[in-house]
C-alpha cells in the first residue's frame, strides 16, 4: 500500500498522457518528460487541460487510480473513479448512520474535536517560534479553542455542533495575522474568503483545501465509503460531504501549516500571485508548482497515530482515518476516534 500512494500532478499546458506497458508516459509539447509505473500511483490530478488516451483511462480505472480534473483557476471540475471499492453493506451502514441523528451527532462531534484539537496544537507549535508580541495572541486563540472543546462535550444536537464549529473556526482564523512573521509582508489576512479568494493567503488556503478534499475523497472511496454522504456536512448535490468531514482534522496541520511555512520562509512572495478583473487572486504557474511540491513533501512528513499507536505520515493519515470510520460504521468500534496530533 505504501508504494502506491503517489499523485501525479499535471500542470503544463499541452500535456499528453498515454500508456506504454504498465507505465504512464507524460509528453509535454511533443517532448517526453517522464515515465511513471502505474503501480506507484494512487491518483492523477490534472490542473490544466490534459489529454489522456482511452487506454490509459481504462488502466487507471482498473488499477483503482482516481483521475481528477481542475479548471484553469483551480476550481474542482470532476473526478473519475472505477467500480466503487468495498461493499454495499458498508455503504448501507453509512447511510443508516447518516440518517440516525444520535450517531450523526456523535461522529460529527468527534470530527470537530479532532479539528479543534489539531488547530490548537498547530497554534501552540507556531507560538514556540513566534516573536513575543505575537505569542500572546496565539496563546489566547489556544485558550479559546480549549474552551470550545470543553463546550463540545455538552452539546446534544447537530445544529449546536455546527454552530460551535463555526464560532471556533472564526476564533481560529482571527489568529492568522499573528501566525505571520514580520518579514512576510504583503500577506495581510482580514478573514477567510473564498469563491473567489480575494488575497494571496486565501488563494493558497483554497487551493490547498481543494487538493486535500480530493485526497480525502480518494481515501474514503478506497475503503468503500461514499464520499458524498457526510455527517457534519449536509448532503448537497455535487458536494463530497464526507470528504469535507474527514478533511476537518487535517486542515490546520497539513494545509494551514504548509501555507504559513511557505510564506514565513519567503518561498512564495506577493509577486507570485495575480489578480483577475473580478477580484479573484490566483497563484501564478510557477508558484502553483512550488505549492504542489511543498504539498507532496508535507504529506511525507512523519506523525504518530495516537489511537493506532504507530508511526505514519500525514499522507497516510486520511487513509487510516477512513479505515477507522469504516470500522465504527460496521460496529467494530464504539466511536470514531479522531486523529489527534501532539
Amino acid at each position: 500500500m505504501t508504494t502506491a500512494l503517489n499523485t501525479l500532478f499535471i500542470t503544463a499546458e499541452g500535456t499528453r498522457l498515454n500508456k506504454e506497458g504498465e507505465c504512464v508516459v507524460v509528453t509535454v509539447q511533443d517532448q517526453k518528460k517522464a515515465e511513471v509505473p502505474l503501480r506507484h500511483l494512487r491518483s492523477v490530478v490534472c490542473l490544466t487541460r490534459a489529454w489522456l488516451t482511452p487506454e490509459l483511462m481504462e488502466s487507471c480505472l482498473e488499477a483503482g487510480i482516481h483521475v481528477s480534473f481542475f479548471g484553469m483557476t483551480g476550481r474542482f471540475l470532476a473526478r473519475v473513479e472505477g467500480v466503487p471499492g468495498g461493499n454495499v453493506l458498508l455503504r448501507r451502514q453509512q447511510y443508516r448512520a447518516a440518517d440516525d441523528i444520535a450517531r450523526s451527532v456523535a461522529i460529527s462531534r468527534a470530527l470537530v474535536v479532532g479539528k479543534l484539537g489539531n488547530a490548537r496544537q498547530f497554534v501552540l507549535h507556531a507560538r514556540r517560534d513566534a516573536a513575543p508580541e505575537r505569542q500572546e495572541a496565539l496563546s489566547e486563540t489556544a485558550r479559546r479553542l480549549s474552551e470550545h472543546l470543553r463546550a463540545l462535550t455538552r452539546v446534544e444536537d447537530l445544529e449546536q455542533v455546527r454552530g460551535l464549529e463555526g464560532i471556533a473556526a472564526r476564533d481560529y482564523f482571527e489568529s492568522f495575522p499573528a501566525l505571520l512573521k514580520k518579514s512576510a509582508q504583503g500577506f495581510e489576512f482580514d478573514g477567510r474568503n473564498r469563491r473567489p479568494p480575494r488575497n494571496p493567503l486565501n488563494a493558497m488556503l483554497s487551493f490547498g483545501y481543494a487538493l486535500l478534499a480530493q485526497d480525502c475523497a480518494g481515501a474514503l472511496a478506497g475503503v468503500g465509503l461514499d464520499p458524498a454522504v457526510g455527517f457534519l456536512h449536509e448532503d448537497r448535490p455535487g458536494r463530497l460531504s464526507l470528504a469535507l468531514d474527514l478533511m476537518e482534522e487535517f486542515r490546520a496541520p497539513v494545509v494551514d501549516r504548509l501555507v504559513f511555512s511557505l510564506v514565513n520562509r519567503g518561498q512564495l512572495k506577493p509577486g507570485d500571485f495575480r489578480t483577475e478583473s473580478a477580484g479573484a487572486v490566483l497563484l501564478k504557474d510557477d508558484a502553483r508548482k512550488t505549492f504542489l511540491v511543498a504539498y507532496q513533501e508535507a504529506k511525507q512528513v512523519g506523525v504518530r497515530h495516537a489511537f493506532l499507536g504507530q508511526e505514519t505520515t500525514w499522507g497516510m493519515a486520511p487513509h487510516l482515518q477512513s479505515l477507522l470510520l469504516a470500522r465504527h460504521l460496521r460496529g467494530e468500534l464504539d466511536g470514531y476516534p479522531p486523529f489527534a496530533m501532539r
Binding site: 500532478f9 500542470t11 504498465e22 507505465c23 507524460v26 509535454v28 518528460k33 515515465e35 507532496q296 513533501e297
Partner: protein
C-alpha cells in the same frame, strides 16, 4: 524494498534483441530506468516475485546475465547521480 537490476544481453544472438526488449519492458513496468541496462525498482514483495519470475523467464542463462542488488533505505539515500538523464524519483513529488 528497492532492487537495482542490471542486465547484459548478447544482442549478436538472433533471439538477442527480442530478449533485450522483453527484459527492458518487464523492468520498465516496475521501475525507473537509470541507465541503458540499469533499473531501480521500488517494489512491494509480491511485485518483486512477479518481476523476478518475468526476468528469469525472459533471459537466456547461456549467454545473458542478470544482477539484482537489494538496497536498504540507507543505501538508496547514499546514491549519487551525476550527468545527463537524472532519473525520476517515483516516490517524490511528481509535478509536471
Amino acid at each position: 524494498m528497492t532492487v537495482l537490476i542490471c542486465y547484459d544481453v548478447r544482442v549478436s544472438d538472433p533471439q538477442g534483441p527480442r530478449r533485450l526488449r522483453k527484459i527492458a519492458r518487464a523492468c520498465r513496468d516496475h521501475g525507473v530506468r537509470v541507465q541503458y541496462s540499469v533499473f531501480e525498482c521500488v517494489l512491494e514483495p509480491k511485485d518483486w516475485v512477479v518481476l523476478r519470475a518475468r526476468l528469469l523467464g525472459a533471459f537466456d542463462s547461456e549467454c545473458d546475465s542478470l544482477r539484482f542488488y537489494f538496497l536498504s533505505e540507507d543505501d538508496a539515500r547514499k546514491t549519487e547521480h551525476h550527468g545527463a538523464r537524472a532519473p525520476l524519483d517515483v516516490e517524490g513529488p511528481l509535478v509536471l
